[in-house]
Each structure stands twice: as C-alpha cells, then as structure tokens.
C-alpha cells in the first residue's frame, strides 16, 4: 500500500472507465443502463475518495461497486418484468460484432444466457483475470459458491457452445 498516494478523481476515471463500463454492460446487456451505472459508480467513488488508500484499493472498490450496482439494476428490471438480455440479443449483438471476432461475439451471446451469478463469476474471471479468491472478495460471496458458479457456468457454456458453435469450430 502506498501511504502517500493521493487519489486523483479525473485520472481514476480515465484509467478505469473502460473496465467499469465493460463490467456493467456485460452484466446488464444494456448500453444506456451500463453508461448510467458507470456514471453512478464514479460519482460514488468521488464521495468515498477519502477512504481509498491505494490504486489497487480503487480498482477493487470499483469492481465491487460496479458488480453490486449491476446486480441491483438487474433485480430492479426483473421486478419490472423486463429481460434486458432478450433486448441485448436483438439490439446489442451488433456492438460486439463490430469489435470482436464472430466467435467472440457468439461466446458473449451465450454468456448472456447464463444466470447472473454465473455470468458475474465468468466475467470477472475472463474479462478481469481474477482468481476465484479475488472474485469471492469482489462479490462478497463464499469461495465455494464462486467456484461452483464458475464450474457450472463453464459447463453450461460448453454445452451451449457445443450445440450452437459446432459448425463454426469445425470450420476453423
């Protein structure tokens, strides 16, 4: 921990806006909502800036608050009866296809069909490269639950990928 570290809000936004937006977008599947979550997360960071002790602390804090806010947003949408990921399949697939390989965008589409705890674990594992311990700390979940979500998520994803992507994989 760097004791003399002074947080610079603007610099933190510069450094982490892509990470925060990506996490929120992959969790909610709604670009507008993800942008709103990202704004709220950074404004909350500004309110709590005095408690942030180091760059690592800022990064972990942002990951944790983004995942919490995204989960809250999903919960609110579920209460209102809106399935964001259905909209994402229809509207946002194009965004992924613009910047990633067809296989990548297919995988993201498949990831979107997973239950949110499994999706959260997989996004943190493969987007952020976190270990199960770090994911457990970020999601404030027991390690066993995180490991189980990772295994089940991968298994489900593999089963879906095998049935849906067989043709593509055979072609490559």
């Amino acid at each position: 921990m760097s004791l003399d570290w002074q947080p610079d809000f603007e610099q933190l936004v510069d450094e982490h806006q892509s990470m925060v937006f990506s996490l929120a977008f992959r969790m909610t599947g709604d670009r507008g909502l993800a942008e709103e979550i990202a704004q709220d997360v950074f404004l909350e960071l500004d309110r709590n800036l005095g408690r942030i002790e180091s760059p690592e602390h800022a990064l972990n804090w942002l990951r944790r608050v983004t995942m919490n806010r995204s989960a809250d947003a999903l919960r609110r949408q579920r209460v209102r009866g809106i399935d964001l990921w259905v909209e994402m399949d229809e509207n946002h697939g194009a965004i992924f296809e613009e910047r990633s390989s067809p296989l990548g965008s297919r995988l993201e589409g498949l990831l979107a069909t997973l239950p949110s705890p499994q999706r959260a674990a997989l996004v943190l594992r493969y987007q952020e490269g976190l270990t199960p311990d770090e994911i457990a700390a970020t999601l404030e979940s027991p390690l066993a639950t995180v490991k189980s979500n990772l295994q089940r998520g991968l298994k489900l994803l593999r089963a879906k990928a095998e049935s849906r992507l067989k043709e593509y994989i055979r072609g490559t």
């Binding site: 937006f21 990202a38 704004q39 404004l43 990633s100 390989s101 296989l103 990548g104 990831l111």
Partner: protein, 104 residues
C-alpha cells in the same frame, strides 16, 4: 485451460468506454459539487439566522425579566415606604393617646 476458456479470455476483452462518458461524469460531478456548496451555504445562512433569532428572543425575554424585577423592586420600596409612614402615624396617634390618658 481448454479452448473454451481461451476463447472466453480472448472474447471478453474490456470494451472501450462510450465517447463522452468521462465528460458526462465530470459534468455531473461539477453539478453535484455546486449543489453541495449551495446546500452548505444555505445551511450556514439558516444556522446564522437561527442563532440571531434565538439571541434576539433570549435577549428580549431577559430584558423583560429584568424590567419586571425592577418594577417589582420599586413596588416593594413603595410598599415599605407606605408601611413606614403608616407606622410613624400610628406611633404619633399612640403617643397622643398616651398623653391624653396621663392628663386624665
């Protein structure tokens, strides 16, 4: 790590933030800061006004009490004076009665 995990790692790279996200965040932060400053100013103004009002009311009550005490003291002095005069008059009457009794 199997193929699927490799693909996931490659497929789930961070997305670029939407253009203007930072600008929007900074604009909202400025707006919130301005609102916070305004709220703080209003709070101090209200506090100052409350202190002045409390002081005025407290001063008024104290002044009123002091005035009442003074009036009470003056009334007591007047009553004492009246009692002294009445006492003196009674003494004189008493003396005259005693003189008359002795003459008889």
């Amino acid at each position: 790590m199997d193929d699927l995990e490799r693909e996931l790692r490659q497929g789930l790279l961070r997305l670029p933030a939407p253009p203007g996200l930072k600008r929007k965040i900074m604009a909202r932060k400025r707006a919130l800061d301005a609102e916070k400053t305004h709220r703080r100013v209003v709070f101090w103004q209200r506090l100052a006004a409350s202190i002045v009002l409390c002081g005025a009311v407290g001063g008024g009550v104290t002044w009123h009490n002091v005035q009442e005490q003074r009036k009470g003291e003056a009334a007591r002095q007047q009553v004492m004076m009246a009692l002294r005069i009445a006492g003196r008059a009674l003494d004189q009457v008493n003396a005259q009665l005693a003189a008359r009794d002795s003459r008889q």
